[in-house]
């Protein structure tokens, strides 16, 4: 018996289709084996794929959203994976690469609202008790200092060290202008040789 699970949020609709994995002791209402999924993003083509494509989608979209919530829009998705996402002109571009040779990748522009709709659909899928498909969910982690660094504008980042170096140079120049203390004018007093004791 085929089961479907739908997640809808304004501009995004994610539908999973599958079968219960009764051999794993799951209930007959739980999707344990994914036979396919479809993703419709407002005004764009409806995408269809298998478990690997869904895994690739959440592998890039969730870490991207995680960065964005900290104000860091970092491109996600290496050359050899089917899905990638990157910031483009204040928006986001989802790139879907076909496994067929000589097929150009499909690029879907998403605005902030459409991206958060997609993220909410994926979040709901993750916590849905009716879906037990083996998927790896990237856990959100705090960002390290190096990952946050480019958030500050360059001018503000280099301002403190540059001010320090400038202050040191000014102090050095001023110190070199100070007259060096002259040696005392009077000749040193003659030192008498001590009389030898008999």
């Amino acid at each position: 018996m085929k089961l479907t699970s739908r997640y809808e949020q304004t501009s995004c609709r994610l539908v999973l289709e599958g079968l219960p994995d009764l051999s794993a002791g799951q209930s007959s209402q739980t999707i344990g084996i994914l036979t396919g999924f479809s993703l419709a993003l407002a005004g764009k083509t409806e995408l269809e794929g298998q478990r690997d494509h869904l895994q690739a989608l959440l592998n890039v979209v969730l870490p991207y959203a995680r960065g964005l919530i900290s104000g860091v829009a970092r491109p996600q998705g290496a050359e050899d994976v089917p899905v990638a996402i990157r910031p483009v002109d204040g928006q986001h571009e989802l790139e879907l690469r076909s496994s067929q040779p000589n097929t150009p990748p499909l690029r879907l522009p998403l605005d902030d609202a459409e991206l958060s709709d997609l993220v909410r659909c994926l979040d709901r899928l993750q916590l849905d008790p009716q879906v037990a498909v083996p998927l790896q969910w990237p856990a959100p982690q705090p960002l390290r200092r190096s990952e946050l660094r480019h958030r500050l504008p360059l001018a503000r980042r280099v301002a403190a060290p540059l001010t320090g170096i400038a202050a040191l140079l000014v102090a050095g120049v001023l110190a070199s202008l100070l007259p060096t203390p002259k040696p005392p004018a009077s000749a040193p007093a003659a030192v008498s040789t001590p009389a030898r004791g008999g």
């Binding site: 605005d111 902030d112 609202a113 709709d117 960002l143 390290r144």
Partner: protein
């Protein structure tokens, strides 16, 4: 994804606390009854052990160093989690509004009016409750820098809404100091 280890026992940093309180303030700017909604949601979610009344809830928010009257006592991890849960629920309630602010499909004039209304209310609340001598507050009030920072607040709230928003926002509030 960052490979920094999760430290579940760590409470929020000063910067994390500032952002969390600013996000709660943004929820109040979007919803005139936001303050009441926080108390109601706190009761609804069974957080009365952490925040028995509105004064305790207020006191926890006043651990934010950007406040005019700030409290020195550090907020515990359970209290921080409680506040993040409240924000998560508020963002969920306000999601249609957050979405319409972020959407590029809205008529530009209407969108600009909504942004102006939100920024105006947020600035009023900032002037009333926050210390205007702090750089973080001045940047939010700055006509050049403010709008972009306001957009970041709304985007953060939109991505904090819903079921997965709690862990995402908590991880973000625990970022290393920039």
């Amino acid at each position: 994804m960052a490979d920094a280890p999760v430290q579940p026992q760590r409470s929020l940093s000063r910067r994390g606390l500032e952002r969390l309180d600013l996000l709660l303030l943004s929820a109040e700017a979007l919803d005139l009854n936001g303050g009441e909604a926080m108390v109601w949601l706190s009761e609804e979610m069974g957080l009365t052990d952490l925040f028995p009344n509105r004064v305790e809830l207020w006191k926890r928010r006043c651990s934010n160093p950007l406040r005019r009257t700030t409290r020195r006592d550090r907020i515990t991890e359970a209290e921080a989690d409680g506040l993040i849960r409240i924000l998560n629920a508020l963002a969920d309630r306000l999601y249609p509004m957050l979405r319409s602010l972020l959407s590029s499909a809205e008529p530009p004039q209407l969108s600009e009016q909504r942004w102006a209304l939100f920024r105006g209310r947020l600035q009023e609340l900032l002037k009333e409750r926050f210390n205007p001598r702090r750089g973080g507050v001045q940047r939010l009030l700055d006509p050049q820098e403010g709008p972009q920072l306001c957009r970041e607040l709304i985007q953060t709230m939109a991505l904090s809404a819903g079921s997965g928003g709690f862990t995402r926002l908590k991880a973000s509030l625990m970022d290393a100091a920039a």
